[in-house]
């Protein structure tokens, strides 16, 4: 990257300066949380800093730039600590920090809000499981569950359909919409109860502010031991502004997942073929829908001709 011109008179030169500084600010820290001594191309980072940042009588250009580089990482790490307490507990502090740094180096924030910082974490873990080895599945379960919490916390709640809205409709023609705050999860480990216990003692995610972060001392966490492997199906949703889990039967999960993908009600019910569902199938499905409608999970329907 070229050093910026000494006297930026054009928007292009102004932009070039911002690109250079953003690159420096968002670049990964060295192991001791200082700014890396070498620039991307191997040149001394000191020279790069001197090319655009003034020194003062107490700090070199490098040290002044380093304040911003460190603040960036302290801020995004703090946000991750607050949003992923479960993942942090199973990985341990050091491994969690390495995962955070690697993830954010690859997927820096693309949103004005820190709320969305973890939106691509599951994708990252799937692509680069070495950062969570040997706990890939456990880490994926927790990353999915903790992201579902974020979605449930402040996603939209649309006016719900009532049970009677669903009566008498042609199943072959209607498609039901599920609330945007509802996430359906298939988990391979018993992370739901684990997270409930963990969250009992944790605070809310930090809000946005214009204050600079101090390097908050990391809280000691214990690696979760004895977490059982158990396939379970979960709906994470919001009711009366509180986040709830609802455990689902495999058939319920299949049906709801199909509806969420946008297939017709009839097609969604066909997903149940081959599953053992106790009692009368029609009555059971009706009971499920009544229960989901009572929770306000359906928020729209589309009827094709």
């Amino acid at each position: 990257m070229k050093s910026p011109a000494r006297n930026p008179q054009t928007k292009g030169e102004f932009r070039q300066l911002q690109k250079l500084m953003a690159t420096a600010v968002m670049r990964s820290l060295a192991r001791d949380d200082s700014m890396q001594r070498k620039w991307i191309d191997g040149r001394p980072a000191k020279k790069i800093a001197e090319s655009f940042i003034k020194p003062n009588d107490r700090l070199t250009s490098f040290e002044r730039l380093e304040i911003y580089n460190r603040q960036y990482w302290f801020r995004v790490r703090d946000c991750f600590y607050a949003d992923y307490p479960g993942l942090r507990a199973i990985l341990g502090d050091k491994k969690f920090e390495r995962l955070t740094d690697a993830y954010l180096a690859k997927f820096p924030s693309q949103s004005y809000t820190l709320r969305n910082l973890g939106s691509r974490l599951v994708k990252f873990i799937e692509a680069e499981p070495r950062w969570v080895s040997p706990h890939k599945q456990l880490a994926l379960d927790l990353a999915r569950l903790e992201w579902a919490h974020t979605e449930a916390f402040d996603n939209e709640a649309r006016p719900p359909l009532k049970t009677e809205d669903l009566a008498g409709l042609d199943a072959a023609k209607i498609r039901l919409k599920l609330q945007p705050h509802l996430t359906l999860l298939k988990l391979e480990n018993e992370v739901d109860n684990f997270l409930i216990q963990l969250k009992k003692n944790s605070g809310l995610r930090g809000e946005a502010s214009n204050a600079m972060e101090q390097n908050h001392r990391k809280k000691k966490t214990k690696v979760a031991r004895g977490l059982k492997r158990r396939t379970n199906f979960l709906a994470v949703h919001r009711h009366d502004d509180l986040i709830y889990y609802k455990w689902l039967e495999p058939g319920q999960f299949r049906l709801l997942s199909a509806l969420q993908k946008g297939v017709t009600l009839q097609k969604a019910c066909e997903e149940l073929v081959g599953l053992k569902i106790p009692g009368n199938l029609g009555e059971t499905i009706q009971e499920w829908f009544q229960s989901w409608a009572a929770l306000g999970w359906f928020c729209g329907l589309k009827q094709s001709k």
């Binding site: 008179q9 102004f14 002044r64 924030s109 004005y112 402040d154 996603n155």
Partner: protein, 284 residues
């Protein structure tokens, strides 16, 4: 000049920042507070508890929006989706003015979530002022820009920070949210006289003042908003209101947040200076 075009011709007194640890106290005790400042981004969501709390606050209190991610000083185009969400919130809160920082923080769609300092150049002032105008036209609410604390300066700068602020606000014809703590922090980090700053800005554009605490390190000061306001900052505040008049004043406390009463008491200390000013005006 208590009311001006830049604060929607309002006459707000002393307020505090609305923060999560105080929600329960505010909603249950309903303390008498002049107004609350909210961080817009914390409420630019589509549902859930944040909006429910906000609506309850709006039933009882006056609210002013303050943003942290508009990045007026960015060299990119304004983010329309961001503006649309912000406008929805503006309609909800009926904020008489809206503030954000004279800084930048995103490039190529990547966000630093920081308030990065501007190069004080005419080119940067022109770009920034244009973005402020565009935002104001879209949001249809008066806009004020806040001076930030900074830890670095650029070789390319062609003027002082306060000259740059003047250049931007005159070009954009917008208001100033004067943060006297940020002036103090930057004056220590860059070795200038903070009173030169306060004396050098167009006082008629000051719509709001921020006060806050900070953290002192060996070689620099960090704007942490986690301490009471120190005396030198109160002195700058005193000078600022001498110049600008009785101005809407807000205490920011964002980290290691003490009880509501402690924060509120700290904010109300500004009342002594405002009263003093009133007396001076009356006796003159």
């Amino acid at each position: 000049m208590p009311a001006n075009a830049f604060n929607g011709f309002t006459d707000y007194g002393i307020g505090i920042g609305l923060r999560v640890p105080h929600y329960q106290h505010i909603l249950s005790k309903k303390p008498a507070v002049g107004w609350f400042e909210i961080i817009s981004e914390n409420f630019m969501c589509d549902g859930g508890r944040p909006l429910k709390v906000l609506d309850q606050i709006l039933e009882q209190y006056r609210v002013v929006q303050h943003g942290v991610s508009m990045y007026f000083g960015s060299s990119e185009k304004l983010n329309r989706e961001h503006l649309k969400k912000l406008k929805r919130l503006v309609k909800r809160t009926n904020t008489p003015w809206l503030s954000d920082h004279l800084c930048w923080g995103s490039v190529d769609g990547r966000y630093t979530h920081d308030l990065l300092p501007m190069p004080y150049t005419f080119a940067a002032a022109k770009v920034t002022a244009q973005r402020i105008r565009e935002a104001r036209d879209f949001l249809e609410v008066p806009i004020c820009v806040e001076n930030v604390s900074s830890y670095a300066e650029f070789h390319v700068s062609e003027m002082t920070e306060w000259e740059f602020l003047n250049e931007v606000v005159e070009r954009a014809d917008c208001g100033i949210l004067l943060d006297v703590n940020n002036i103090y922090v930057s004056s220590k980090n860059h070795s200038f006289n903070p009173f030169d700053y306060v004396n050098g800005i167009p006082a008629h554009r000051v719509a709001q003042i921020h006060i806050a605490g900070h953290s002192k390190f060996e070689k620099y000061i960090l704007d942490t908003h986690d301490h009471p306001v120190i005396d030198p900052v109160w002195k700058l505040y005193e000078r600022a209101i001498q110049r600008a008049g009785k101005t809407a004043t807000l205490l920011e406390w964002d980290d290691r947040i003490p009880s509501f009463d402690e924060v509120h008491d700290e904010a109300l200390k500004a009342g002594k200076f405002l009263k003093q000013l009133e007396n001076e005006i009356a006796s003159a």
